[in-house]
Amino acid sequence: MASYDVIIIGGGPAGYNAGIRAGQLGLKAAVVEKRGTLGGTCLNVGCMPSKALLHASELYEAAAGKDFATLGIEVKPTLNLVQMMAQKAESVTQLTKGIEFLFKKNKVDWVKGMGKITGPGKVEVTAEDGSTALLEAKNVVIATGSEPSGLPGVVVDNKRIVDSTGALSLPEVPKSLIVIGAGIIGLELGSVWRRLGAEVTVIEYLDRITPGMDAETAKTFQRSLTKQGMKFKLGSKVTGAKTSKTGVSLTVEPAAGGEAETLQADYVLLAIGRRPYTFGLGLETVGVELDKRGFIPTDHFKTSAPGVWAIGDAILGPMLAHKAEEDAVAVIEMIAGKYAHVDYDLVPSVVYTAPEVAWVGKTEEQLKEAGVAYKAGKFPFTANSRAKINHETDGFVKVLADAKTDEILGVHMIGPQVGEMIGEYCVAMAFKAASEDVARVCHPHPTRSEAGRQAAMGVEGWTMQA
């Protein structure tokens, strides 16, 4: 029986990072992954392929629409969907192979198969061919991630009604696509297909898009998407779906009650969120109980069973790859006897649409609800030279800081590639920086990052360029 210091069940961002960190710290580690490739949802059917399509479709739209022509480039592009999908798959393969390389480099064993705890320190792995192997370890880390949530009455067949995985590989550009759920995944994938030519309608139960996003930012975001041609049906719930060979008809009711209506579309994308993937893990054999929503309850990643840990989407907290990565580093360092801490308040969120949306820390709504006195500084990209030159002036940067101490409490950005700009504020906030600290630091000109600085200046009323 193979014996390890730590066995990690799941090879996604939580699991593979845990494996690498364990290897770095000299722990004998194995990662159990049932998928044929490492990288989990993120690399295989999540962040990575969706970004591949977002990038390609954005360029396609720029070429096909007015953007290129505005720049003096006149072309008539032809969409080759097969090639677009192939380049996506190629990138994904390279990335998953990269994880395999990192495993070898750090002496991490990849055990292929489905992992299941059979008792304290015991993990049984069932390979694809049905054979089983028993492993033992001092520590078991559950990093099994999450899967798309279902909706009663809407059965995902991944033909006409698809989840996020299916939406990454549609065989054709739909004439019409209905997205159920105005969250990040729905809006990103909806954007992909709209850019490629689909008429996209987004149905959302709440009366706003992207719950959790700062309300002012969300409003601006919705306006941008609407301008691009995306349609929104807010405050509506989907109660049923009928699939035919050529499309889907959805029954939609106002969330507040009222007349139901029927909507037709070639395809439907169900993207109402994700739920933890935590069943069938044998947790009952070590006495770990799931909470009502299927999450594994933990205290600093420790479950109720000694030597059993859980990280990533399987536990509470933002269901994001970079959060899972933080969990992974922390749990392994704790297993190795080091100090580790993850501050979920400093986990940034990014929506990779155009404009992008990025934020970290508290929203204005959260600060108001908590009764925190704050000051806001806001700077629009219309006043940023780089954005202006590039004809990408949608959006703004907003910095929220404590009214007394000036400590930055939240930063909300919408605009061109702001996902690349939020990291600066993550660092600043980790050091409890004041808005003035960012305002007094030299930023390169001309860059979009100057908007971040000007917004910081705005907190204390000395924005200079607007």
């Binding site: 000036d406 920086a433 004041a434 007094r440």
Partner: protein, 398 residues
């Protein structure tokens, strides 16, 4: 790796300045070898190497302010041979030393906002407790420190920004001892209603006494007979007679002290210090001479401890050793009196209708008029004068 830590600095002393490192990173050190000198408000102290090895790094550069328990540097144990100099810890940012509330932040530079607030308001960054990552001082911390200072009633006004240095000038940072002397002198002037009364004393008799017995005194006690012991004795007797001078003001109360611990001013290279001769009322002249001799040596060697400097009830200062003929000493708070001794000079005096040359010394008593009234002050000084002019009175407790 052994840490070199800032030792306990004595009661009521919260920080020290790193005065000098005897070694550079990379140099070999022996256990108990003096590695670094610290200066506090009152004393200098030396910190020895915790182990044999090589000085690996310096965490608190010269000029940095440290608190007890703060990391000064590290020694790599064992390696006896000097290895190439390790990269020294980053220098504390000029012009302000790094904040040191948590040891980890000893060398952390200030955030831009905190730097501005500290510079604009002349705050001591080292004295601000940092709540940021690894104890760094955030803007909020700096603002809180500013607010706390504004709330303190006796806040010193911020001096103006450092002025330009001209060609033939030199800017030298005040030592912590000098800063403390400056601050305390000013505090004394601000707090007390200070004034000075003068008298003069004819030293003929006490000099005669000294000349007569100095050899036999030295032989039997192993210490020279000076005038200081006579003055200490006379002062103790005068204090007993005028207890107000030996008292201090505490808020709206007066605290009378029934012990006679005399601070004796001693000049050192770095400045004037006032170690204390304790229970001088219970000491013989020889005991007093010995005590003063020992304290003076400690002071000149920079070896005074906090205990040596605290708790005096009255001070004697002798400007005469430098040739001063007359001066107005400043109180040593919270004391209420200080006696100034001066140069002995032969002057024509009228004695029994005849003009004769007599060795004379002017005496000055500065006192806090809030607690000592004029009559008491003059009486005190006359008592000292009488005892010195007629030392037999000391014997008879007159």
């Amino acid at each position: 790796m052994a840490d070199i830590m800032t030792p306990a600095l004595g009661e009521s002393v919260t920080e020290a300045t790193v005065a000098r490192w005897a070694k550079k990173p990379g140099e070999a050190v022996r256990k108990d070898e003096i590695l670094v000198e610290l200066e506090t408000d009152k004393v200098s102290l030396e910190v020895a190497a915790p182990a044999d090895g090589v000085l690996d790094s310096i965490a608190a550069e010269e000029g940095a302010t440290v608190e007890p328990g703060a990391l000064l540097g590290r020694v790599t144990e064992g390696a006896a041979a000097a290895k190439p100099a390790a990269a020294p810890a980053p220098k504390a940012e000029a012009p302000k030393p790094a904040p040191a509330p948590a040891p980890a932040a000893a060398a952390a530079p200030l955030a831009p906002s905190a730097q501005r607030i500290v510079a604009e308001n002349n705050l001591d960054a080292a004295a601000i407790a940092g709540t940021g990552k690894a104890g760094r001082v955030t803007k909020g911390d700096a603002l809180a420190a500013l607010e706390a200072r504004a709330a303190a009633p006796a806040a010193a006004p911020a001096p103006s920004a450092p002025r330009e240095i001209h060609e033939r000038e030199q800017r030298v940072r005040m030592t912590r001892l000098r800063q403390t002397i400056a601050r305390r002198l000013k505090e004394a002037q601000n707090a007390a209603a200070m004034l000075t009364t003068f008298n003069e004393v004819d030293m003929t008799n006490v000099m005669a006494l000294r000349n007569q017995y100095k050899d036999v005194f030295e032989k039997s006690h192993g210490v020279k007979l000076g005038f200081m012991s006579f003055f200490v004795k006379s002062v103790v007797q005068a204090l007993k007679h005028v207890p107000d001078v030996n008292a201090e003001i505490d808020g709206t109360d007066i605290i009378y002290k029934n012990h006679y611990d005399i601070s004796v001013a001693v000049g050192t290279e770095k400045g004037l210090v006032t170690p204390v001769v304790r229970d001088a009322d219970a000491m013989s002249l020889a005991d007093i001479e010995k005590a003063i001799g020992a304290l003076g040596k400690k002071a000149r060697d920079g070896q005074l401890s906090m205990e040596d400097l605290q708790g005096g009830t009255f001070t004697i200062s002798n400007g005469g050793v430098y040739g001063s003929l007359m001066s107005t000493p400043i109180l040593n708070p919270p004391q209420s009196g200080i006696l100034g001794m001066h140069k002995i000079q032969e002057r024509p005096m009228v004695v029994n209708g005849q003009i004769v040359a007599r060795p004379m010394m002017y005496l000055a008593l500065s006192y806090d008029h809030r607690i000592v009234d004029g009559q008491g002050a003059v009486t005190f000084l006359v008592k000292v004068k009488e005892a010195i002019e007629d030392p037999q009175r000391l014997l008879l407790d007159l």
